[in-house]
């Protein structure tokens, strides 16, 4: 124990140095047992010595310093170097910076520090735990035997795992970029697995509202674990069998980083073609090769922690300034692509942005371009000078404003030249020519050779032909005299104003002398307009022109229809036809009449109802006719027709409809056919099919005869007499059964129980079959006695026996209403009484059964 204490703490070593080794054999044992440990541990201690001092110093100051340093101070200290580095890096390739910074971002850092600490403690604990255990001794022996270090043996035994598959999956599409497999490992289609994994990750993300970057870290199925590491463009998933050490995360992350480093653009643009990403598999292969964990040397985790803390501070600052620089750059490039804006100078200092340059007054306002860029406008200091841009589109705008070209001239930019084409007056052309000359110095060419000079007469003629195509305008006469234009004609007040048509034609209005007479054009569209104005058509009426006719469609009250009809008559001479036949009259009376007609037609369609007469008078409706009592009630049919029942006056006579449907109803009511019979209507004849007792059949035949007088066919030829053969057999069995009694008793002895049981079953079966055949079976239970004793006593005994049997049968499930009882006393003996017998004949003490069919 002293030895161990010495080895664990160097102070103890000094403390116990003086104690001599009592026994050299103990020394030998010590060498054998913990010799490796001693050298191992002293080496670790030594290593930790100096870093500890360093780390302590840094660790004491750093958190405090970082916390207290103001943004500006920290920024100033780091600014020049970081800024230059960032700028150069961004100019070279912005992705590099993103990828370098990506593992440094906060969550990753926190995680990796945690893992580091865990991992260090884990290996320490692991070693300490095994020193004294049975395994410890065994492994110590193994280490001695194989000549490896004890900790390596511990690791080999406690951390056994194998990376079987590695998938690299595109984050955007879930498509497989690359896949490598360990020897002998198999799996289903890796492409499918890859897509499914990404779908599951999406699913988890959606379902639990996870943030963008954190996917499913680990999934575990028994022996298998899926570890995934998410990068900007690709996710790496390792399938591991066994117990992987924590540090494997780091290895996987490294591989993913390296892949992003080398091929970030190809990853980003990955479209399913893996040939664009060669060499990735080689990188992945390194993951699969990691089958066994190597024992690691003591890890200087304090140093790493300190270094990481510095990195965090730098990284965060770096990221923020890089981000705002990035936004500023985006704004600049946006400005530079704007026509009419020239940036002559820009810089970024202390978080402020300075910009100077030239802008055309017609160009977009640089200030307004800031919106949407996330650059803080308050930090932007700009100095813009106005200038006239010579870019063709600006020159075009200015020319358009200055020259106000007529409608007939079109200005456009073609290959950097401004081209005017069309027709214009001499005056305009000369103004344009002057402008073109002014422009010449340095500006774009203004080419007006494509503009044709048109004479005032030509323009006049163009105006006149324009008028002539106008509907509702008829030009009667026009001429030109002494530079003056004269025109006369007709115009509809609803047609376009000839005066306003002058604008844009370059004909001088002052020289035009027009004299227009109003007239009413008969062109359909004008007539339509006038009709619309005079008739005020309702929302429910639509007027339209169909093949030069004016057609009104929809619904209107009779007043409107009358007015429309009058208008149509007025129109007739020479004008278009006005067709109002498609407008439905919806005045309340017309509507009520319509509803009434609907009701009548509904009645007429009813079987068993004959409408003899009906009229509508003064808002009231009168109807008379015949109805079968079995037909639908005419009153009930009113509901849903919107006819007011209070205004309906009806007079119905009952009659017996010979419609087969009604005849069937009546027959069903009067003949009450058994269930085994079916009445149906076949081609207007009533056919009766099935089995029935003979009595019923003869009643049906009588009915058929009666009906034939009315011309209705009732076909009973297919009726068959009910077959009671089977029932007869059963009836026989029932009627030969007797229940016997001891002398003077009204309850049968126990030996009668099976007889009663069987009888009950037979009765039930018979009743059921009879019911099916459409007849009712009833059973008469007759009690009997022997001749011993007085006659009155015998009569009551016999009745009591029948009652008892009825109760016993009822108890066995025979319906009581089917069982009738009577006492026959001694009057119906089964066998003649022996006069000499003392006790009377036992055969006569009984209850007998008879079957009645109704």
């Amino acid at each position: 124990m002293v030895e161990i204490a010495r080895n664990v703490d160097p102070d103890n070593r000094a403390l116990y140095e003086g104690i001599p080794a009592a026994d050299h054999r103990l020394e030998a044992l010590r060498q054998l047992l913990v010799g490796g440990e001693i050298s191992e541990l002293s080496r670790v201690t030594h290593l930790l010595d100096e870093p500890e001092q360093l780390a302590a110093a840094v660790g004491n100051v750093l958190p405090d310093a970082t916390a207290r340093a103001s943004y500006a101070q920290l920024g100033e200290a780091l600014a020049p170097a970081v800024e230059r580095a960032a700028q150069r890096s961004i100019q070279k390739n912005p992705h590099t910076l993103t990828d370098i910074l990506y593992p440094v971002f906060l969550p990753a850092i926190r995680k990796s520090i945690g893992e580091k600490i865990d991992q260090t403690f884990q290996s320490l604990n692991e070693s300490l735990r095994h020193i004294f255990t049975w395994h410890g001794l065994k492994w110590r022996f193994e280490a001695w035997r194989t000549g490896t270090s004890f900790s390596e043996v511990v690791l080999n035994h406690s951390l056994v795992y194998r990376v079987e598959h590695v998938f690299l999956i595109s984050r955007s599409s879930g498509l497989l970029i690359a896949h490598v497999t360990a020897e002998n490992a198999t799996s289903e289609d890796p492409q499918l697995i890859s897509s499914m994994l990404s779908a599951i990750q999406d699913f988890v993300k959606d379902s639990f509202n996870e943030k963008e970057n954190s996917g499913l870290d680990t999934i575990r199925f028994g022996e298998l674990r899926l570890w995934s590491e998410v990068g900007p463009f690709a996710t790496l998933v390792a399938v591991i069998r066994g117990n992987p050490p924590e540090e494997l995360h780091e290895v996987i992350r490294d591989v993913l980083l390296r892949i992003h480093d080398e091929s970030s653009q190809a990853l980003e643009r990955f479209d399913g073609d893996t040939s664009q990403l060669p060499g990735v598999e080689t990188q992945l292969q390194t993951c699969v090769e990691l089958q066994h964990a190597d024992s690691k040397e003591g890890f200087p985790w304090l140093v790493v922690t300190a270094a990481l803390l510095v990195l965090i501070a730098a990284g965060v600052w770096f990221f923020l300034s890089w981000q705002s620089g990035q936004r500023w750059q985006a704004y600049l490039s946006r400005l530079e692509t704007q026509p009419g804006i020239v940036v002559s100078e820009q810089k970024m200092r202390g978080g402020q942005f300075y910009i100077a340059g030239l802008r055309d007054p017609l160009a977009t306002d640089p200030q307004s371009l800031l919106s949407g860029t996330e650059v803080d406008p308050a930090r932007v200091h700009s100095n813009w000078q106005f200038y006239q841009s010579l870019e063709p589109e600006f020159v075009l705008k200015r020319l358009t404003a200055a020259l106000t070209p007529p409608d007939s001239v079109r200005l456009s930019v073609v290959d950097g030249r401004i081209i005017a084409a069309g027709e214009a007056t001499t005056a305009w052309i000369s103004r344009a020519r002057a402008a073109a000359q002014q422009l010449s110095a340095g500006g774009p060419v203004f080419d007006i050779s494509g503009v044709r000079d048109v004479s005032p007469e030509e323009r006049w003629q163009a105006y006149v032909s324009r008028l002539e195509t106008q509907p509702g305008i008829i030009v009667a006469q026009q001429n030109v005299r002494d530079g003056q234009f004269y025109i006369t004609g007709l115009r509809d007040p609803l047609a376009a104003d000839p005066q306003s048509l002058l604008s844009g034609t370059e004909v001088e209005p002052a020289r035009v002398h027009a004299s227009w007479q109003f007239y009413q054009s008969l062109e359909p569209e004008f007539v339509l307009k006038r009709l619309t104005a005079s008739l005020y058509p309702l929302d429910t009426v639509r007027l339209s022109i169909v093949n030069d006719r004016i057609v009104a469609e929809g619904e209107a009250p009779d007043t409107w229809i009358d007015r429309a009809r009058a208008a149509a008559r007025q129109l007739s001479v020479g004008g278009p036809e006005f067709d109002i036949s498609k407008v439905r009259d919806v005045s309340p009376d017309a509507r009520a009449a319509e509803h009434w007609q609907y009701y009548v037609s509904r009645l007429e369609a009813q079987p068993g109802i004959i409408v003899a007469q009906q009229t509508a008078r003064g808002g009231h409706f009168y109807i008379s006719g015949l109805r079968d009592p079995l037909a639908a009630d005419p009153q009930a049919l009113l509901s849903g027709t919107e006819v007011d029942p209070a205004r309906v006056h009806s007079q119905w006579q009952f009659y017996q409809s010979l419609d087969p449907k009604f005849v069937v109803k009546r027959l069903t009511a009067s003949l009450s056919p058994p269930k085994s019979v079916r009445l149906s209507i076949v081609q207007g004849r009533i056919v009766v099919v099935g089995e029935a007792p003979a009595g019923w059949i003869s009643r049906a035949q009588a009915a058929a005869e009666q009906l034939s007088a009315d011309g209705v066919v009732l076909d009973v030829s297919q009726l068959r007499e009910l077959n009671l053969a089977e029932l007869n057999h059963l009836r026989e069995a029932i009627q030969t059964t007797d229940i016997f009694f001891s002398s003077g008793r009204v309850v049968p002895g126990p030996e009668q129980t099976p007889v009663l049981d069987r009888l009950a079953d037979q009765l039930k079966e018979f009743a059921e079959n009879a019911r099916k055949a459409g007849v009712t079976a009833r059973f008469m239970l007759t009690g009997h006695s022997d001749t011993t004793g007085r006659e009155t006593a015998n009569a009551s005994i016999s009745a009591a026996r029948a009652e008892t049997v009825r109760a016993l049968l009822n108890k066995r499930g025979v319906a009581p209403e089917l069982l009738l009882v009577r006492g026959a006393g001694t009057f119906e003996p089964a066998v003649p009484e022996n006069e000499n017998s003392r006790t009377g004949n036992s055969t006569n003490r009984r209850v007998s059964v008879t079957v009645n069919l109704e």
Binding site: S172, D189, A199, I200, D202, F203, D271
Partner: protein, 164 residues
């Protein structure tokens, strides 16, 4: 290896799952559809100069267009829009789904399948309507997952469209 992600889109019970089942032998259980909301299958389509692996994503439950997970379509190169030829309303559903996808990820090639062509007596889409859609240059097929009619043609067509 050339792979393309393809999404099956269409209303409820138009036959997406059946069409995929017709076109490939699945390895995943259809339970995924109800649990994760998506089932993935693969089919290699060979052309003279190359082979394309179509990774088919069959999404569940788009009946309610609001609940449709657009995020599953991210990274897709092509769409199979499925309409039930016996239910005209499913055409509007398919077109709306396509619009949503295009609004999110931009235009992408697609084929439009009028499925259940075997149910001729209940067919409810007129030839004129289909012709009109063809006029827009769309690739349209009348398919039946039941008989297999034109199913392969449609997928092959889409494969050739996304392969370039």
């Amino acid at each position: 290896m050339l792979q393309k992600k393809i999404c099956m889109l269409g209303g409820f019970a138009v036959g997406k799952t059946s069409l995929v089942r017709r076109f490939v032998q699945s390895i995943f259980s259809e339970n995924y559809l109800t649990t994760v909301g998506v089932k993935i299958d693969k089919k290699s389509v060979a052309f003279p100069d190359k082979t394309v692996d179509l990774i088919l994503w069959d999404l569940a439950g788009e009946d309610d267009i609001g609940s449709f997970r657009v995020s599953y379509v991210r990274g897709a190169t092509g769409l199979v829009l499925v309409v039930d030829g016996t239910r005209p309303a499913t055409l509007a559903v398919a077109l709306t789904l396509r619009e949503r996808v295009e609004a999110e990820f931009g235009a992408m090639p697609f084929v439009l399948l009028f499925n259940k062509s075997d149910l001729a007596d209940r067919w409810a889409i007129s030839d004129g309507e289909i012709d009109e859609l063809r006029q827009r240059g769309w690739q349209i097929y009348l398919t039946s997952a039941l008989s297999g009619e034109h199913v392969d043609d449609a997928f092959r067509q889409l494969a050739s469209m996304v392969a370039n």
